[in-house]
């Protein structure tokens, strides 16, 4: 589906991947409808989208409210006439040992990350079926394939969302709705404010686990996905490696992930008070795409490093062969 | 695949709406309606079919019913739009001076043929293959099929879906399938376009409205369940079955002796023959917009048109120099207007083969001018349901009322009403009658006005 002139609804559009996706779609000529809890953040994103070249509409809602999500879809159609793409991106997480996290917070994460996506799909699909065409993008995560400790509800939710996409695809196919596509995106660790705002009961400050990728890269993948819808897309070589590992040596992958998270996802030397983060109240401020984890810089460094390695290796080979 | 090919797969071949469109469509193309336009028409084959043992024949009716139905997982394919495509595809020519729209009726089929008018039936039957319910347990049938009935209604907002359950005359079919009758309430773009493009400027839309209602129960939006139908058993007897039904159920080896239907919550147009008035405003609006005349032919019972149409044919034949002394009584969907006209025979339509139809024919023959020849053909529905009139009664009626010859034709008397060859035999039986006449010049609507104006008989109908 052409992104230009499409109407794209993005939940979780106030920060991170959602925000980057909204901006990327606007830059490609789409009309974007932005949904999240923070009205000022959305207004800022809307302004940025219009500068980038698209029309934008900001609709502050909480995706756990099914009626509000239906109203969001209605407003999108009233303003722009149709819904071509719906990107479910709004998500929250918590770092906590399993017995420590309050149960309502556990439920809240499932509510936002799973039911929020369900509400979005239920709102968008009737319009897409009527139109005969549409793309539903569910942003999942590589943790759906290789889950992590201390983030049980989040990992469960991302796996659930992957399965939701699959069930929907099958049902749509049986119903003969050939033009309506459901896609899953599985990014690895992304440089977003996600980690600053999480609930945390581990006593240790959370950080983005390297390698960190930029949110813009995920956004580019999503835009490509809209153009050529595919079932599941992994973003970046790290995600692809993990996926491969999970299929070939799942036990080993699990053990390696456990130790990685313990060493690299939580600071070893920085403590953090217990907090419920942005689970029930959105974080203050107007949001941003990047979380300051230097995703772009890290990517660039990785590229430089691997290019250097290649060149060094090539030079070694050349010497060997007397070139 | 085109809409009409898709629809052809799930439309039921013995349905009155489907046969209306097939018969009139073929008539307008100069073809007859042998074998209901889908099956073979051959006396030897018919004899073979009728000679099979009773149990096999009975099973055959049941199997045919099961095969006609579509499985539950394909119900989502039912599309009222495709059905409208199919209906309009039966009439490729035009422009026509008149188009008939509305509830199906065999008498109106002959009328449409006389007017050379396409007939767009409001109601069509779709059968759903299901083997899980028992014909004598209507409550269970209603609840088991309710999600499916609702699904069809939900996916087709222009129609109402009537789930009709009749363990009397439809019994063999009911063993393998459920009847869903789709009634158009909104004209829809396909039929609208047909009327706008293929009806002559200043032409007439003739709306056939049968006001027969039946008690029914709502199971969803535009989705209803109806227990029983027009036939040998009255509406009251279906809902409060007595000794006659107990005997019938015993004969059919049913585990029950009584029917316990779900409590009805309203009266709605009868599923097969009733007209749903929700369609009328669209037709009125279209007629006003396009400058067409809208005429309404309103009757309470579908059979009430039969004597009017018979006398009208007599009058029309007389004006066109055709003989008027031969009557051809045709039952249910074994109608063939081409042959009736070719034979110079006045058509009398019997809704079915049961006591009410018998009485209607008797009454008609009692007060009209005598016919020299009377021929009666009877449909076989596959069992002795309550009220079926045996062949010899029909023969006696025909013989006593006719001056020269009165007989039952095209029926295997021993096999009846389990005559599996019935549909293959009726047209050869018609064709066997001499002589042939050229088809008369068409009737026009003004002539109907004139006929009703000059006729002294009062017919139980309203012509507006």
């Amino acid at each position: 589906m052409r992104v230009r002139d499409s109407v794209v609804v993005v939940t979780g559009a106030s920060s991170g991947i959602g925000r980057a996706t909204a901006l990327a779609c606007a830059a490609a000529g789409a009309a974007v409808v932005l949904a999240a809890r923070r009205a000022e953040a959305l207004d800022e994103v809307a302004r940025e989208c219009e500068t980038a070249g698209g029309e934008a509409l900001a609709v502050p809602i909480d995706v756990t409210d099914a009626d509000a999500v239906q109203a969001l879809a209605r407003r999108a159609v009233e303003r722009f006439g149709r819904i071509d793409v719906w990107v479910n991106c709004a998500a929250v997480t918590a770092f906590a040992p399993f017995q420590e996290i309050p149960l309502e917070e556990f439920r809240r994460i499932l509510d936002v990350d799973v039911m929020g996506y369900v509400h979005g799909a239920r709102a968008a699909l009737p319009y897409m079926r009527d139109q005969g065409k549409g793309v539903l993008v569910n942003v999942s995560s590589i943790v759906a394939a290789v889950p992590q400790p201390y983030t049980h509800a989040y990992s469960m939710s991302k796996a659930a969302v992957r399965v939701l996409s699959s069930s929907l695809r099958q049902e749509l196919r049986l119903d003969g709705a050939k033009g309506v596509k459901v896609c899953t995106v599985m990014p690895p660790t992304v440089d977003t404010p996600f980690f600053d705002h999480t609930a945390n009961y581990t006593g240790r400050k959370a950080k983005a686990m390297p390698p960190v990728y930029s949110a813009e890269r995920v956004a580019r993948t999503i835009v490509d996905l809209i153009r050529v819808p595919r079932r599941e897309v992994l973003v970046g070589p790290m995600a692809r490696n993990l996926m491969l590992q999970s299929k070939l040596a799942p036990g080993l992958a699990e053990r390696m992930m456990a130790s990685q998270v313990d060493k690299m996802h939580l600071y070893r030397t920085k403590p953090a008070p217990a907090t419920s983060g942005n689970l029930f109240q959105p974080a203050p401020g107007t949001g941003s795409v990047s979380g300051g984890w230097h995703g772009r810089r890290q990517t660039a460094l990785r590229r430089v490093a691997s290019t250097a390695a290649l060149l060094a290796g090539g030079a070694a080979v050349a010497r060997r062969w007397g070139l | 695949m085109s809409g009409r090919l898709r629809a052809a797969r799930y439309l039921v071949d013995f349905d009155s709406g489907v046969n209306t469109a097939r018969a009139v469509g073929r008539y307008l193309r100069g073809k007859d309606h042998r074998g209901m336009s889908v099956g073979p028409s051959s006396r030897p084959l018919a004899a073979l079919a009728a000679s099979l043992p009773t149990g096999v024949r009975r099973g055959g009716f049941s199997v045919m019913g099961t095969l006609q139905g579509i499985p539950l997982d394909q119900v989502r394919r039912i599309s009222a739009d495709d059905i409208a495509d199919w209906i309009t595809a039966q009439y490729p020519g035009g422009p026509y001076p008149v188009v008939v729209v509305g509830s199906p009726s065999g008498a109106a089929v002959h009328l449409a043929a006389a007017l050379r008018a396409p007939y767009l039936p409001q109601t069509t039957l779709v059968a759903v293959r299901e083997l899980g319910t028992h014909p004598d347990d209507p409550r269970d049938a209603m609840e088991a099929l309710a999600p499916t009935t609702r699904l069809v209604a939900h996916r087709n907002p222009e129609v109402a879906v009537h789930h009709m359950h009749d363990p009397a005359q439809d019994r063999p079919m009911l063993e393998g399938m459920a009847y869903l009758r789709l009634k158009r309430r909104v004209l829809g773009r396909t039929l609208e376009r047909f009327l706008e493009e293929r009806l002559m400027p200043g032409g007439t839309i003739l709306l056939v409205e049968c006001t027969r209602t039946w008690r029914s129960r709502q199971v969803g939006e535009r989705a209803y369940f109806q227990f029983g139908c027009l036939g040998g058993v009255s509406e009251e007897e279906y809902h409060d079955s007595g000794a006659r039904i107990a005997d019938y159920l015993a004969r059919e080896r049913s585990p029950r002796r009584r029917w316990e239907p779900p409590e009805p919550d309203g009266r709605r147009p009868e599923a097969e023959w009733g007209f749903d008035p929700a369609l009328r405003p669209d037709l009125e609006e279209l007629a006003a917009r396009c400058g067409y005349r809208l005429r309404r032919l309103v009757v309470e019972e579908p059979q009430e048109l039969s004597d009017f149409v018979a006398d009208l044919h007599r009058w029309w034949y007389r004006r066109r120099g055709l003989p008027t002394q031969r009557l051809l009584a045709q039952s249910y969907v074994q109608w063939d207007p081409l042959w009736a006209q070719r034979l110079g025979a006045v058509p009398f339509w019997l809704r079915f083969n049961m006591a009410p139809s018998f009485q209607d024919l008797q009454r008609y023959l009692g007060h009209t001018d005598r016919y020299d020849e009377i021929y009666v053909n009877l449909f076989s529905q596959g069992l002795w349901s309550p009220g079926v009139v045996p062949v010899h009664h029909w023969r006696e009626l025909a013989a006593s009322a006719a001056r020269v010859r009165g007989e039952v034709i095209g029926v295997d008397e021993d096999a009846y009403p389990l005559d599996a060859g019935s549909t293959m035999r009726y047209q050869p039986a018609f064709a066997a009658l001499p002589p042939r006449h050229a088809l008369p010049a068409p009737l026009d609507v003004a002539e109907i006005d004139r006929f009703l104006g000059t006729s002294t008989d009062s017919y139980r109908l309203s012509w507006r």
């Binding site: 009309a31 149709r82 005969g132 | 376009r193």
Partner: protein, 254 residues
């Protein structure tokens, strides 16, 4: 400003169950001219006409659902569907009563509005009204379109190709079928506004006899012929067409 002038704006409106794109060019204070494109075309081939009229009018060329940059339903719309979409868009953009310049199948769409929304029509210009009721078959129309091509400017080719790619073969074929059976001659007597029927003198799709019949059947019709051009007068002779449109600008009512 000159022959390289592009459209001023590309506007979108939520209407007709979708997001309708329209291209705009011209003097914002001037009377509006709405251009209705033909089968498989879009706003693009009205650019020359828009340029010619830009000082005297605000030219707006919407893309009907399924064509140009307006997404359409999966089932192609018939003439009634397209005219209802156009009517919905005219209401949503408050352009009732504007002068309407239609080409080819667009004439059928505009005339059909007289049956359900006559109040939306302003003075009408029917450029090459289809379909000649004596040539209502696919082979005849295709033959005529081929016979027309020598009389069109070659620059029209790439524009049309792009538009055909946008609408796709299936929608094109389905809309063609609806176009052929649409009885325009029955609707013409209902057109409540003064109408100019424009015909390219070399147009085989709309022979002179048919154009004259259309003009006669209209309650207030007048025929104008443009010598030396074929069916797509708006592309091949925009200046001369503009000259025919300008006098109507004073007569539009809102």
């Amino acid at each position: 400003m000159g022959p390289l002038t592009r459209w001023d704006t590309h506007g979108f409106t939520a209407a007709a169950g979708t997001r309708v794109h329209a291209a705009l060019l011209g003097n914002a204070d001037a009377p509006t001219v709405v251009c209705v494109h033909g089968l498989g075309c879009s706003h693009r081939y009205f650019l020359p006409l828009a340029r010619a009229l830009r000082r005297d009018a605000r030219v707006v060329a919407p893309d009907l659902p399924g064509f140009g940059r307006t997404r359409g339903p999966s089932r192609a719309l018939d003439i009634r569907g397209l005219s209802q979409a156009l009517a919905d868009w005219l209401r949503a953009t408050a352009r009732a009563g504007a002068v309407v310049v239609a080409n080819s199948t667009g004439c059928q769409v505009a005339v059909d509005m007289a049956l359900h929304s006559p109040e939306l029509l302003g003075p009408l210009v029917l450029v090459g009204p289809t379909v000649d009721r004596r040539a209502r078959t696919l082979p005849q129309q295709v033959g005529r379109l081929i016979a027309d091509s020598p009389w069109e400017r070659p620059t029209l080719g790439p524009v049309l190709l792009r538009d055909w790619a946008a609408c796709g073969a299936r929608r094109y074929a389905a809309t063609f079928a609806y176009m052929l059976t649409d009885p325009i001659e029955r609707k013409l007597p209902h057109v409540p506004v003064p109408t100019v029927v424009v015909r390219g003198a070399r147009d085989p799709v709309v022979p002179r006899a048919w154009a004259e019949e259309v003009t006669r059947t209209l309650p207030d019709g007048r025929l104008a012929e443009v010598p030396g051009v074929g069916h797509t007068v708006n592309w091949s002779a925009p200046e001369r067409l503009a000259r025919l449109v300008r006098p109507l600008l004073a007569g539009e009512h809102t």
